[in-house]
Amino acid sequence: MLPLISIILATLAVGTVATFFAGARARWVALGVSTVFLIEVALLFAGYTGWPGYSTSLVPGFSDTETYAWIHLSWLRINYAVGVDGISLVLILLTAILQIATVIYSWGETHRPAGYFGLVMLTCLGSFGVFVALDVLLFFLFWEAVLVPMFFLIGYWGGPNRRYAALKFFVYTHVASIVMLVGLLALVFYSGATSFDFSSIYAAARGLAPEVQVFLFLALFFGFAVKFPIVPFHTWLPDAHVEAPTGGSVLLAGLLLKLGGYGLIRWAVEVLPYAIHALQPLLFLIAFLSIIWGSVLALAQRDLKRLVAYSSINHMGIVLLAIALDSSLGLLAAVLLMFAHGIVSGLLFMTSGSVHHQYGTRDIHTLGGLTPTAPGLATLLMAGSLASLGLPALIGFPAEFTAFVATWNGIGYWVLIPLIVLVVTAAFYLWMMQRVLFGPQKGLPAEVPGLPWYESAGMGILLAFTVLFGILPSLLVNVIVNSPVKGFPGT
């Protein structure tokens, strides 16, 4: 069998380097690499062996696994171990979709394009690595590899306050990473795992004392949750989004937040089953707080990107809620939600970026009556908003519905909190649309450049997937549930 994951990693790595040195042709290289990446991801789907009774892989339940010795000392066994299951496959698909959409959307980037596209490629490389790594050290390396390009994307291509935002982003996520690293290393050494591999840690962590599990979980949770982000460690997100270039915002919301969710599922929830059970009330509290806070604050925002950023906090709060339910249905919902949010928030950030490119501002109070001047952009913004507030036949609905069923199944009437917040979510999107898209025209420049084809194409790709998976969510669900996770049929 082909070592497909290594081939993809090599493709992305070579592609990244090539993009950095491609000068003015960087966008063509980036597009080519993204296309190859998408094809390879399709092959990965085609060859997925996680289906029940089909597992031929080295690590039970994972597909396309590869393990090579990397750093072996007498007591230290670090491997290059990679593999995918249904959860990571879906998020890898998200990576591939967002990468190609971002590259196309950013086609007109003229400010040092080689650096820009190279950093975009590097971000996607890191994300892909996080999703496939089955070794603690490898996971951490890729995790950190995502921070650096994002720091430069914000800090160099960003808005007027970019230095502040980039530094804030970096300090927040880096402090969280360090706590997470301590947690991961403690997990390895306390559990007495024979190697840094996921499978050996998974097996060894069963024997940990309950209190130790709780402490380890808290450390890991802090590391992952700042990425989510959870309230009150969320203030880096709106600043980073507002200052980041559009492509950066898309990757930040679409991929970086998902790393937190994926990490939590893979390295904390699965590995420390007792801890999540013990800490459930705390997690619920944080999740509800994030859900309410994100939604209510979005209502008060004037900047389109800040509004979408706060709605991300709300949606990722639902993801945390679904994960904290500690049920297979909850996990399914969490992964679906992450995928849905990745696509939809990408679309929304792109539309906000286009509004900025067209009209020179994203201020909701300044703008008004955009629809006649840019019907296509208005339609896309409306479609994104409707998908984000959970309209059926768009991707947000099956995800949110599953999450609410899982919540109801797990904690009963507490489901009212996210349900009622849904009204607030609808309110801030509708109000935003009323002010920005409808009503008499105001605050518009005399000359509007018109939406370039590449921006429409980038948004069109995301919209197409929003509709496709909204109508046929089973395409994703069938992959997710065939994962080696407790309660799923695949086990």
Binding site: V231, V296, P372, P398, M433, Q434, L437, G439
Partner: protein
């Protein structure tokens, strides 16, 4: 659409048959633990008596409104958008009608809601239209949330009590041949089912604009009149009633739920009718009338007569669409919706005047027009239950009183617009009848408004109505009640004629004791003001406060840490004096600290812990 009509009439010819086709939308195979039987959500179509009845309404009215639109909308901009959204609406509405389970029902329910949002906001340059669209979406969203919770509760009830056990929603389809299976399985009055039923009622109240979620429907008149006729009178707003009917037929309500439904419906009839009495806007008068009539349907379903309610839905769809299209014809000719500017139109617009009068007579419940049969059947059916449910009495009386108001306000509108010999506002353009594409639907709908009530005596239709639940029936008691209600209706028309007939305009004296009431009614009982204040003042203020908190307290804490570390590092920096002996001193201090740790603290800790 023709296909839909064919299916519907085909069903009429072979009543009582169920055609159920479904596919699996989202499926989790069985696994130990949470999914003992798997988890499955299906999408399917179910053609049964209920859905075929609705299908007739949706397709016939939809077709006529489309036809009418060709004339009514021909001067507008954005016609591709208009027809696309209208077609999407019809598709979604057909999907809703044919849905074979609650989840699919909800899916299409949301889709028709969003189409309604688009179409209310069709004239999006108008701030009032954009605002009304948002309001409609939000208010129905409140209902939708309750509906969704109701679905969860029913799923849960089914999962625990249903024959399959577990979360097999696959079995949760409306294909139980008209038996309220869940109530049958769980017993008639469990708390869970009661709450679930109340939530379904909440969803229906949002969509059908029942009290207290009624505020959006009058404002939805900002959309084109054709949209008001199709969506906000005939089809979509009736979906709430349809939901209640479907739920009552296939799942079953508990007695507590029934009382709540009767209360909401009965109260809404009078409440909405009272607001229609004073309103000067021709479309809003009809809109209030829609709310009021939907109240009758809800009342009937709540009292356990789902098919009677649907029968009224059926007749109401035709005469209410007729009224709206006739009003649209007037608006098309004059460009105003203010009744007090109109007058004497019957000379210029004979077809429209006749159509509006037929619609009005049907609405007022004058025999043999359509509204008489269905409305009186509702009153009669509810009356027959009063013996066993004394609490139904006040709501029955409210509905009865609303008959009088209904006749009064609709003929007030007719007299104001059509009677007299001249237009009150001379600046308006000379009135003229619309093109034939606008007149033909009026004629066809007038025909339906006359005869639709008589369908109940056609054998095929009657057996269709009896296909699920208790069919409409006529007993001698009904006839007595009918006499009273027709009398009330005639009285209402008479009062309208005496105050407004022949071009008269009745002005309420300033010192009249009724002035405060009039103001209350004109201000719609201050509901909209209160909701707006709640939204803008309370929620937005809270949001602004939270934003302030976020920026200055949470982020302020972050910046505080930043300053603290900055200040601390500033102090520490000063230690680097450059003086060698200072450094030497630090080295020695460090050495001392190590000695202290190793020789004093270390043994102490070991002594305390090591022994254990």
């Amino acid at each position: 659409m023709g296909l839909g009509v064919a299916i519907a009439f085909g069903e009429m010819l072979s009543p009582g048959t169920y055609t159920n086709v479904q596919i699996t939308w989202l499926h989790l195979p069985p696994a130990p633990g949470v999914f003992p039987n798997g988890f499955s959500l299906v999408m399917g179509t179910l053609v049964d008596p209920l859905s075929s009845l609705m299908l007739v309404v949706v397709t016939v009215v939809g077709f006529l409104v489309m036809l009418y639109s060709i004339g009514y909308m021909h001067t507008e901009h954005g016609l591709p958008r208009y027809y696309a959204e209208l077609s999407l609406f019809l598709a979604a509405m057909t999907g809703l009608v044919l849905a074979n389970n609650l989840l699919e029902f909800f899916l299409f329910w949301e889709l028709v809601g969003v189409c309604s949002y688009f179409l209310i906001g069709f004239y999006y340059e108008k701030p009032s239209a954009a605002s009304a669209a948002k309001e409609a979406f939000l208010v129905t969203r409140v209902g939708d949330i309750m509906f969704l919770l109701g679905i969860f509760l029913f799923f849960y009830a089914y999962a625990t009590a249903g024959p399959n056990g577990g979360w097999a929603a696959n079995g949760f389809v409306f294909a139980h041949n008209g038996s309220p299976f869940l109530a049958g399985v769980m017993g008639r009055n469990t708390p869970l089912l009661t709450v679930a039923g109340l939530m379904i009622l909440g969803g229906a109240a949002g969509k059908s604009a029942q009290f207290p979620l009624h505020v959006w429907l009058p404002d939805a008149m900002e959309g084109p009149t054709t949209v008001s006729a199709l969506i906000h009178a005939a089809t979509m707003v009736a979906a709430g009633v349809y939901l209640l009917a479907v739920t009552s037929v296939f799942i079953g309500f508990t007695p507590t739920d029934q009382l709540a439904i009767v209360a909401v419906g009965g109260f809404t009839t009078l409440f909405a009718a009272s607001m229609a009495v004073v309103h000067p806007d021709i479309k809003r008068v009809i809109a209030y009338s829609t709310i009021s009539q939907l109240g009758y349907m809800v009342l009937a379903v709540g009292a356990g007569f789902a098919m009677v309610g649907l029968y009224h839905l059926f007749t109401h769809a035709f005469f209410k669409a007729l009224l709206f299209l006739a009003a649209g014809s007037v608006i098309h000719a004059l460009g105003t919706q203010d009744l007090f500017k109109m007058g004497g139109l019957k000379k210029h617009m004979r077809v429209t005047a006749a159509a509006f009068a037929i619609g009005g007579l049907a609405l007022a419940g004058i025999p043999p027009f359509a509204g008489f049969w269905s409305k009186d059947d509702i009153l009669g059916s509810v009356y027959s239950t009063l013996g066993s449910h004394p609490l139904y009495w006040p709501f029955f009386l409210m509905a009865f009183a609303a008959v009088f108001l209904t006749a009064y306000y609709i003929f007030r509108a007719w007299f104001l617009a059509f009677s007299g010999d001249h237009i009150r506002d001379p600046t308006l353009p000379p009135p003229h009848e619309g093109p034939w594409v606008m007149q033909v639907p009026l004629v066809i709908l007038s025909g339906f408004a006359i005869v639709a009530g008589l369908f109940v005596f056609a054998p095929g239709f009657a057996s269709l109505l009896s296909g699920a639940g208790i069919p409409p029936t006529y007993t001698p008691t009904d006839l007595g009640l009918s006499a009273i209600s027709v009398g009330l209706g005639a009285g209402g028309i008479g009062l309208a004629w005496s105050l407004w007939g022949n071009g008269r305009v009745y002005v309420l004296p300033d010192d009249s004791a009724l002035q405060p009431l009039r103001r209350l009614l004109l201000n719609r009982y201050y509901f909209k003001v209160a909701y707006d204040a709640f939204g803008l003042r309370v929620v937005y203020t809270v949001a602004r406060g939270a934003d302030f908190f976020d920026r200055f307290v949470i982020d302020g804490t972050v910046h505080g840490f930043e300053r603290m570390f900055g200040a601390a590092s500033d102090r520490l920096r000063r230690m680097q004096s450059g003086v060698v002996s200072d450094y030497a001193a630090y080295v020695i201090a460090g050495l001392l600290a190590i000695f202290v740790l190793l020789l004093i603290v270390g043994p102490y800790v070991v002594a305390r812990l090591g022994g254990a």
